[in-house]
């Protein structure tokens, strides 16, 4: 453990309001701390620049979920384990459940939270591509009030998010609009389980007799941020054909910006990203509605 522990502080507020007031009083000084599965690794490495934390993992205002006709709203402190166990998510947002299964092992899934994962803003995270597919919205809350923002656009650069220092994520809202969409999720990691992704692909398409009438394509680990590939989506309209598959694969390669790092290569990420797109599109022929490939 390489950090000088006496330099770090953590408080455990009893209510959400208390946490928000502290953050408002000293903006940027106090950071929310959820399950800790990312922050504690930095502490261990001696690389944790932030010093003061507010434990929010058990705050009532951040837990649980609600269901309305139009939305499923998840508390930011919902753990991956809880995501997997929630029936309506299994039924209508299966890619999020898939992502939750792929994130670490059981111990990580018991502690890791959706909100913490989003705020950590790693481009290699497993849930963001699914959240982008589902047009997720985030509720950002501060002592001043709350506002909703689309998740798309929340990431503005490598590990940079569009959120004020006195705000935190309270809810993640998923519009119930993809029930009838064909859905696909595939993460390619460094090994079968407990792996950081090298390429992560999420896709959804609305298909009728005339072909594709709506598409969502989102990838992780191929850009500084989780990437919604709108230009590629734009080519996915109408009857599925070899030409469409080829054209969208070419467009995908232009839209993503993968790098070489010690986990993988840019060439591999690009090539496999294309192949996953192809697999998704070919699978549209056979997959029943709503079930992930």
């Amino acid at each position: 453990m390489r950090s000088f522990l006496p330099a770090y502080d953590m408080r455990v507020p009893l209510e959400l309001d208390e946490a928000l007031e502290t953050m408002a009083r000293e903006p940027g000084e106090w950071k929310p701390f959820a399950g800790g599965t990312d922050i504690m690794v930095l502490l261990e490495q001696g690389k944790l620049a932030d010093r003061k934390f507010l434990s929010i993992a058990r705050l009532k205002g951040l837990r649980g979920f609600t269901v309305s006709d139009d939305h499923v709203t998840l508390g930011a402190m919902m753990t991956y384990r809880q995501v997997q166990a929630t029936t309506i998510l299994q039924q209508e947002f299966p890619l999020l459940c898939r992502a939750a299964c792929e994130t670490g092992g059981i111990a990580t899934q018991n502690r890791g939270t959706l909100g913490g994962n989003i705020a950590n803003a790693s481009p290699a995270a497993d849930s963001p591509p699914a959240l982008l597919i589902y047009d997720a919205e985030l509720e950002l809350v501060s002592a001043q009030g709350a506002r909703w923002v689309p998740y798309a656009g929340f990431h503005v650069g490598y590990k940079k998010i569009n959120m004020r220092p006195e705000e935190m994520i309270r809810n993640i809202r998923l519009p119930r609009t993809k029930k009838n969409w064909r859905q696909y999720y595939r993460k390619v990691g460094t090994r079968r389980a407990q792996a950081i992704s090298k390429v992560c692909f999420a896709g959804a398409a609305l298909v009728d007799n005339g072909g594709i009438t709506g598409a969502r394509i989102a990838l992780g680990s191929v850009a500084p941020i989780p990437l919604r590939c709108r230009k590629t989506e734009a080519l996915l309209q109408g009857p599925l054909s070899t030409e469409m598959i080829q054209a969208s694969a070419d467009q995908l390669e232009r839209e993503i910006q993968p790098i070489d790092d010690f986990r993988s290569t840019a060439r591999y990420r690009a090539r496999v990203g294309q192949k996953l797109l192809e697999e998704f599109l070919l699978g549209l022929m056979t997959t029943p509605a709503g079930r992930p490939a």
């Binding site: 330099a7 770090y8 408080r11 993992a57 092992g105 059981i106 502690r111 389980a193 407990q194």
Partner: protein
């Protein structure tokens, strides 16, 4: 440099109440090992990859190297030292019989992961359930085969006992 004050944190470990004075971000792993002298949980990687530090917090499997002690106020913690009662747990017996432990360093975390797995699966877990249930616990010695066998044996004993 400015120093954070230590915090008094109270929690239960293996049924016993404890209060420790510790820096709030002290790892639960270190508090267990150094302050409470419960050295069963081990440090294998310090980043939540190997599972050697696994404990149960409120019956959920977690990596104690990633938990700041400030977050366990009021929690119920179970370590490997609390798994055996008057007699060994069925998982522990099975590990001995089937050769599930070689060097033993991953064993405390592995036993806890197995106990948690059995709690999650009231019916017989499949081999896939076992593989994914243990995927967060790395073992370098065994290749996992004897461990799977131990868990299957513990399940069978449980099924036999329930029958």
């Amino acid at each position: 440099m400015p120093e954070t004050a230590k915090l008094a944190v109270s929690f239960q470990v293996n049924g016993q109440p404890h209060t420790v004075e510790a820096y709030p971000m002290a790892r639960l792993l270190d508090v267990l090992r150094r302050d409470l002298r419960l050295t069963g949980a081990k440090e294998g990687c310090g980043e939540g990859e190997c599972g050697a530090c696994a404990v149960l917090i409120d019956d959920e499997l977690v990596n104690s190297c990633l938990v700041p002690v400030a977050q366990v106020e009021g929690c119920k913690i179970t370590t490997i030292e609390g798994i055996a009662g008057e007699t060994l747990h069925a998982v522990q017996e099975a590990f001995i019989e089937c050769g599930g432990a070689q060097c033993g360093i991953c064993t405390p975390g592995m036993v806890l992961a197995a106990v948690a797995l059995l709690e999650r699966h009231s019916a017989q877990p499949t081999e896939d359930d076992i593989r994914s249930g243990l995927a967060g616990n790395l073992c370098r010695c065994t290749g996992y085969m004897r461990i799977f066998e131990a868990i299957l044996q513990a399940c069978e004993k449980r099924a036999g006992a329930d029958a």
